[in-house]
């Protein structure tokens, strides 16, 4: 029997606010001592009260709009109780009944639309490190603001699961709501997978793979679960609904400690936090701050930049925004330079922090178009635009300093060609060409290039040579 996989994904996104969701302590614990970014509120000392960070509300609006979601005018917080050392309060503050972000959708590069069920604000938990016989608790991450994005089960392949996670990552970074550093857990994915016989209108029993932190592991875990569940079903057994962990090293999923069921969380309204009520005007004003999203860039550049190049470039929001600023006729060349020169050489991280201005890039493209720069020289000048030593000098100045500008002046070129043709050592080649030996033109062009110290435009030289030798 053929089985159809159905996949739904929950994604946790850490918001890049300066302070935590409920206290005025530093939210950026990167490179800091364990437990050094912790307030008495995070420690849940008696009498401590949470105070909502307004910036997290604003970022949630941007995140929601990036996913074409409705923003709910009324939302509030609830307590989700569980016992674990990563949470001194004994509960997580989340939005169970009234989330801030409503229904929407994310469109994948393939055109597949994945609907968003809702997304809500909540506080992160602390970090546990397990040792032999004991665990250590670092509370730096407690109440880092998160939005949890819950998709509808609209995904039906491992590839689409991968693409959905990657598109979410792009959307969140374009919206500017997260650092998007996957390695450090800024975005984490829980993936629900089930199989149903083809044509069935009922979904099968699902498993949930928790805490995946790369697109590749999402794809591999889904592939693995589809294969594993197919085997289970084909042998006539039933898939057990359970929570699984994933190991990149073994490439396998394995059962985890069974979590409490919903009723055990004893959800109750959070009495310490008054509700959020957003006016239409406020939502509109905040939404207007959303910059162009990947979908808009696809529509804008789709006819100029080949799809595979564009999909690579779309991983870099700053680069796309710069491309949006340069002259339209220059886009094709500049996007090629970025893909072939920078990204191909894996220099991207350091280089992309400080991009050349739109004017510099447009000027470079123009010089290339006018054949003042050969394609090799264009790449050379492009790289120099990032060079701290040459910063701000502009493409023309740099090309001049490096002596890379091609001689295009026909009169001047003709003089050089005449000099070369007058040389006895080119005599034989000239005769050969006149006798129909086409390929010696290359030798003659080379001689002219040499005479011009590499500054002549080879195609112009060839044209003049052909005229003169006709």
């Amino acid at each position: 029997m053929k089985y159809v996989p159905t996949i739904g994904i929950e994604c946790h996104v850490q918001l890049c606010t300066k302070t935590k969701l409920f206290s005025e302590v530093d939210n950026d614990a990167r490179g800091k001592e364990p437990n050094s970014c912790v307030s008495p509120v995070d420690y849940a000392l008696p009498g401590m009260l949470p105070r909502l960070n307004g910036e997290a509300v604003r970022l949630a609006i941007l995140a929601g709009r990036a996913m074409n979601c409705e923003i709910n005018s009324y939302s509030r917080f609830d307590r989700k109780h569980y016992f674990y050392p990563d949470s001194p309060k004994g509960y997580q503050i989340t939005q169970f009944y009234h989330p801030i972000i409503g229904v929407g959708y994310v469109e994948l590069p393939s055109g597949t639309k994945v609907r968003i069920e809702h997304a809500h604000l909540e506080g992160d938990a602390g970090k546990l490190t397990h040792f032999d016989g004991y665990s250590l608790v670092d509370l730096n991450r407690v109440d880092t603001p998160l939005i949890e994005i819950v998709s509808m089960p609209d995904i039906h392949s491992a590839k689409d699961a991968h693409d959905y996670c990657k598109e979410l990552w792009r959307l969140m970074r374009y919206a500017g709501v997260t650092y998007g550093d996957l390695y450090n857990g800024n975005m984490r994915f829980d993936v629900n997978t089930s199989l149903a016989p083809e044509g069935s209108d009922k979904l099968g029993t699902r498993t949930e793979v928790k805490n995946l932190n790369s697109f590749r592991s999402v794809e591999r875990a889904v592939e693995y679960e589809i294969a594993r569940q197919t085997k289970v079903l084909e042998s006539g057994e039933k898939v057990v609904q359970q929570t699984l962990g994933w190991s990149d090293a073994t490439g396998k999923t394995s059962p985890q400690r069974s979590k409490e069921v919903a009723a055990d969380y004893r959800y109750m309204p959070e009495p310490d936090l008054p509700p959020i009520r957003l006016s239409r005007e406020f939502i509109e004003t905040e939404s207007a701050k959303l910059p162009l999203m990947p979908a808009s860039y696809r529509a804008k550049f789709g006819s100029v930049i080949p799809t595979d190049t564009l999909e690579i470039l779309l991983d870099y929001p700053e680069l796309m925004s710069r491309l949006g600023e340069i002259a339209p006729h220059a886009i094709s060349l500049v996007s090629n330079l970025f893909t072939s020169v920078l990204l191909a050489e894996e220099k991207s991280a350091e280089y992309l922090n400080d991009l050349p201005t739109a004017a510099e890039l447009s000027e470079l493209a123009e010089m290339n178009e006018k054949k003042e720069l050969s394609s090799t020289a264009t790449k050379e000048v492009f790289l120099r635009l990032f060079d701290p030593q040459m910063k701000g000098r502009g493409a023309r100045q740099i090309a001049k300093e490096l002596g890379l500008i091609q001689e295009n002046n026909l009169g001047a070129l003709e003089k050089i060609v005449d000099v070369v043709l007058a040389k006895p050592e080119t005599k034989k080649a000239q005769d050969d060409f006149r006798n129909g030996e086409e390929k010696v033109i290359g030798f003659l062009v080379g001689q002219v290039m040499k005479e011009s110290h590499g500054k002549a435009n080879p195609s112009a030289v060839q044209e003049i040579l052909r005229k003169k030798l006709a």
Binding site: T17, K18, T19, E24, V25, D26, E33, P34, N35, S36, V38, S39, P40, Y43, L45, R51, L52, N53, G54, E55, A56, V57, R76, Y82, F83, Y84, P85, T129, H130, F131, G133, Y134, S135, L136, V137, D138, L139, R257, E260, D264, P269, P271, L273, P274, P275, I276, R277
Partner: protein
């Protein structure tokens, strides 16, 4: 509502309490009493009444996103824990 022995054991597990036979027995009785007392509220007819989440009619109590010096230092907070190691809180392994 009657509280069964299994309910107490389940609640104990959720709260990570090791309960003795005697405690299970007395807790069953106590919790049943507490729920019976609270259940008096069920006598009220609340059909069509909006749920009340809070009694103060406040909304949008937000603060600005600025880091403030904390009243308690890392050392003070860690001093409150039973055991620490390398600036972290040491706990029995819970899985």
């Amino acid at each position: 509502m009657e509280i069964k022995r299994e309910d107490i054991i389940h609640l104990g597990k959720l709260s990570n309490f090791d309960l003795s036979e005697k405690e299970i027995e007395s807790l069953s009785k106590d919790i049943s009493e507490i729920i019976k007392y609270i259940s008096q509220l069920d006598e009220l007819n609340t059909d069509g009444v909006e749920p009340t989440y809070q009694v103060f009619e406040m909304e949008n109590v937000w603060r600005s996103d600025e880091i403030l010096e904390q009243d308690a230092s890392m050392e003070q907070l860690l001093a409150l824990t039973k055991e620490e190691k390398d600036n972290q809180i040491k706990v029995p392994k819970v899985l």
